[in-house]
Symmetry: C2
Subunit: 289 residues, 2 copies
């Protein structure tokens, strides 16, 4: 393992340990709900968003510990979106990261409620952070609501089977994926009360790698093996989802991901410690992450 | 109309007007989602919780306007719980307050997402309140999460068809209903930075009328007319829900509601302007409200 891989592993482990203390124990009533919440949070995620939150905090001169609650809130919110997206009324997925999805392992009502409880917890946790609690909640809520993730998801569902168009793909990717990655980076800076010039850079960095991430994800969905992805291959094509390559072609999609990564890297210029963010952006482009 | 009725009507109208400006316009993308969010928020609710939030603020010497955002957040959060509770995987209700429920009027995916977006908005709004934003978010999140509303709902579902027992009924009522009413009252005080001794009184008041409210609701569910309730009569019995009267009998349920109302009224002693809260508690007991 090189230095970056060690960093990602150690930071991911830090996040998982913190999540373990922040989530209600499975033995606490209502047990089945708490079990379902924990099941999906600990079902093999790579902790990309919380790691970015922490790396963003460090890029402004902060310590990982200062961003830990915000990082966990982002991951918990991300987990709720996975649970609800997988529901029968939505993408109707039975497998996620190699595990049965929440409504398969438990049941539909429990999955809806586990998602609701995680979404709520994602706001409760940052609200306890001194001084910047409401700023963190606001950033997260704006990324997550009808003008962010939820808006992206409903347009994604509505776009299924429609002929692909550039405007819709961009809307979906920006809201469904990039908004939360962008918020994760901004929240990392907010945790230590970073200067707004730094926050601006983090927002730009996050926005660009967020879009790149989704483009690469869609490219991988068509070309990878089931073992690597932990879900059925080509499921996007089966559901006829709108993807960047469906609109612009595979070569243009690859070029766009490269271009966005370059823009993200450039945005970190002037941050006190931007090197780690640049390394992560490059690694995301190669996607061994 | 007497003075109290004028107050309830005027305050409810104030809340509805504020909700109209706080909810994204239906013409804004994604239109169908914003339409669904507005549909249920404006589907004939009595605005009980936001009125209590405002009355609580006034009871500590504040103005209605100072609690308006918090009041709207509570009502928006309450609306999300109605949408998700009505879903086919949960209570599977088709009618609510005389209107088709959200998943009937739109579709299941839209209803799930409208609920998610409303829940998110319910935290975004108080996060913008100066000084006390994070305290408001925290109070609301604690009432709404797995140790509050969501916990109450899952235990309610699990209890269907089981023999009624006192402990479970109390758990469900406390979490599913009383927690948010209690939070609404506390938040009203928080909005003006009220002394913790006042907050304590508001919490006690809210807790007691919250429990009384649910007991009365269940009593009405068996005895009212469809026109009054705006939903099918006796649906609790059909779903074999656990109610206070199922455990303790109708007379004991009525006596308990009376006793809780007395406790709520007593809790307002020592508040600068507690008269309105006492009037509301009495009116809720009579339930022409």
């Amino acid at each position: 393992m090189n230095d970056l891989e060690i960093y990602l592993k150690a930071t991911g482990a830090k996040v998982s340990a913190a999540l373990n203390t922040l989530l209600p124990p499975a033995v606490e009533r209502p047990q089945r709900l708490h079990e379902a919440m924990r099941y999906t949070v600990f079902a093999g995620g790579k902790r990309l968003r919380p790691i970015l939150c922490i790396a963003a905090c460090e890029s402004c001169g902060g310590l990982a510990e200062q961003a830990l609650k915000a990082a966990c809130a982002v991951e918990i919110l991300h987990t709720y979106t996975l649970i609800h997206d997988d529901l029968p009324a939505m993408d109707n997925d039975t497998l996620r990261r190699g595990y049965p999805t929440c409504h398969i392992r438990f049941d539909e009502a429990t999955a809806i409620l586990a998602g609701d409880a995680l979404l709520t917890l994602a706001f409760e946790i940052p609200a306890t952070v001194p001084d910047v609690g409401s700023a963190l909640v606001l950033e997260l809520a704006r990324a997550a609501g009808s003008r962010g993730i939820v808006g992206g998801q409903i347009e994604d569902l509505a776009a299924e089977g429609r002929p692909p168009d550039a405007d819709t793909v961009e809307y979906i990717h920006r809201n469904k994926t990039a908004a939360l990655i962008r918020a994760a980076c901004v929240m990392g800076g907010l945790c230590i009360g970073a200067d707004f010039r730094y926050l601006e850079k983090l927002a730009l960095y996050g926005q660009n790698i967020g879009l790149a991430f989704q483009i690469i994800d869609d490219l991988l969905d068509e070309s990878s093996t089931p073992e690597k992805l932990g879900k059925d291959i080509g499921s996007d094509k089966v559901n006829r989802k709108m993807t960047w390559q469906a609109v612009h072609g595979i070569d243009a999609a690859r070029a766009k991901a490269r271009e966005l990564t370059t823009s993200a890297t450039a945005a970190t210029d002037g941050l006190p410690n931007g090197a780690r963010l640049r390394e992560i952006a490059e690694k995301m482009l190669r996607r061994t992450f």
